[in-house]
């Protein structure tokens, strides 16, 4: 259960950073935390008590004693998507800094939400 709590807290912290923080990098950090929290949540859903990793690497592993492989596959996809989103976001931030000379969201013309 602690895994669920951890991932909820991560999501909440991330949302907090995105909404409250005024610094562009901090906003990106918030987005990253949300994404990590969601990934942790997905993996925790697939866990089965006493299960092993879903890899038949040696003899004697039984399919009934493994954790759910689907959430792991989904998370693999999600991690790569998050990383690409973050790369693009950093690029945007660098360019914003180039145009405005500041990372403060209040000083950038219409960036308010």
């Amino acid at each position: 259960m602690i895994y669920y709590v951890g991932s909820f807290l991560l999501i909440a912290l991330g949302l907090y950073a995105v909404i409250i923080k005024k610094n562009l990098i901090k906003i990106l950090i918030g987005l990253d935390l949300i994404a990590s929290g969601v990934n942790l949540l997905i993996i925790s859903i697939g866990y089965v008590k006493g299960g092993t990793a879903p890899i038949f690497s040696r003899a004697g592993l039984k399919a009934s004693m493994m954790v759910d492989p689907i959430p792991q596959a989904l998370t693999l996809t999600a991690i790569v998507i998050d990383a690409s989103e973050m790369a693009l976001a950093v690029a945007f931030v660098v360019l914003l800094y180039k145009h405005y000379g500041t990372l403060d969201i209040k000083k950038i013309r219409s960036l308010k939400w």
């Binding site: 038949f56 690497s57 399919a63 492989p69 689907i70 790569v80 690409s84 790369a87």
Partner: protein, 237 residues
């Protein structure tokens, strides 16, 4: 201050909603239906020892194609944003050159990183890891090179050719399935081989190698664009 309180309440509501929902699905309880099918039949149907790989590349291979496109889109987006107008000369910032040990060390380590990365994506269907992990390890090798030799630039045309080729390999392997009697995209048409050997699982290792190359070249491209923004000055719009 009022804003903070309002948002905190909003956050609390979201967390509460999540907690209320997931209280019905406790941690560690078996919730599988489709997953069970994969565990029971995955080895026989795909020939990959690593069920996660068989899900990622075979059963849900179409997702992975999308994921590769997302990565491609991000790399292209970064390239668009950091595009420097044609003939602008790239000036070097006065960076303190990394010391001798770092430079020589990274040159020695670099081939090993490449080797390690390729090992991981070649064995993706047998052990944990695969194209994404291996590819990103190779990309971090490139990152190391950039850090120790700040002036380095990769051959971008070469990178985008690798990108394109790897992507096309994936799509074409999928399209072959449409010409077979099974008439299904991404059908695993090669023989499955014996479990737990390198040459097994049909097209899965080939796809993972293609993905490895693609991920490595995309991330190397992104890092290259970013580093150029740090090191080179001038140009741009």
């Amino acid at each position: 201050m009022v804003r903070k309180v309002v948002y905190s309440i909003f956050l609390a509501i979201i967390v509460l909603a999540l907690a209320m929902f997931f209280a019905a699905y406790p941690f560690g309880k078996n919730k599988m239906t489709v997953g069970e099918y994969y565990l029971n039949h995955g080895v026989a149907q795909t020939g990959a020892a690593n069920i996660v790989t068989s899900v990622v590349l075979d059963y849900r291979g179409f997702d992975t194609l999308g994921e590769v496109s997302v990565l491609f889109a991000a790399a292209a987006g970064v390239a668009i944003l950091f595009f420097l107008a044609g003939g602008t000369k790239r000036e070097q910032e006065d960076l303190t050159k990394p010391n001798f040990v770092v430079r020589v060390g990274s040159r020695i380590i670099f081939p090993f990183i490449l080797l390690f990365g390729s090992y991981i994506f070649i064995h993706g269907h047998l052990t944990p890891g695969g194209g994404f992990q291996g590819g990103s390890i190779i990309a971090s090798g490139f990152l190391l090179l950039y850090l120790s030799y700040p002036g380095t630039r990769t051959n971008r045309d070469g990178l985008s050719i690798i990108e394109g080729l790897a992507g096309l390999t994936f799509v074409v392997l999928g399209l072959i399935g449409l010409f077979l009697p099974q008439y299904s995209f991404l059908y695993n048409f090669l023989p499955k081989g014996t479990l737990n050997t390198i040459v097994s699982a049909g097209i899965l290792p080939i796809i993972y190698i293609a993905i490895g190359f693609k991920v490595a070249s995309e991330f190397a491209g992104i890092v290259d664009d970013m580093m150029c923004q740090v090191i080179c000055r001038g140009g741009g719009k």
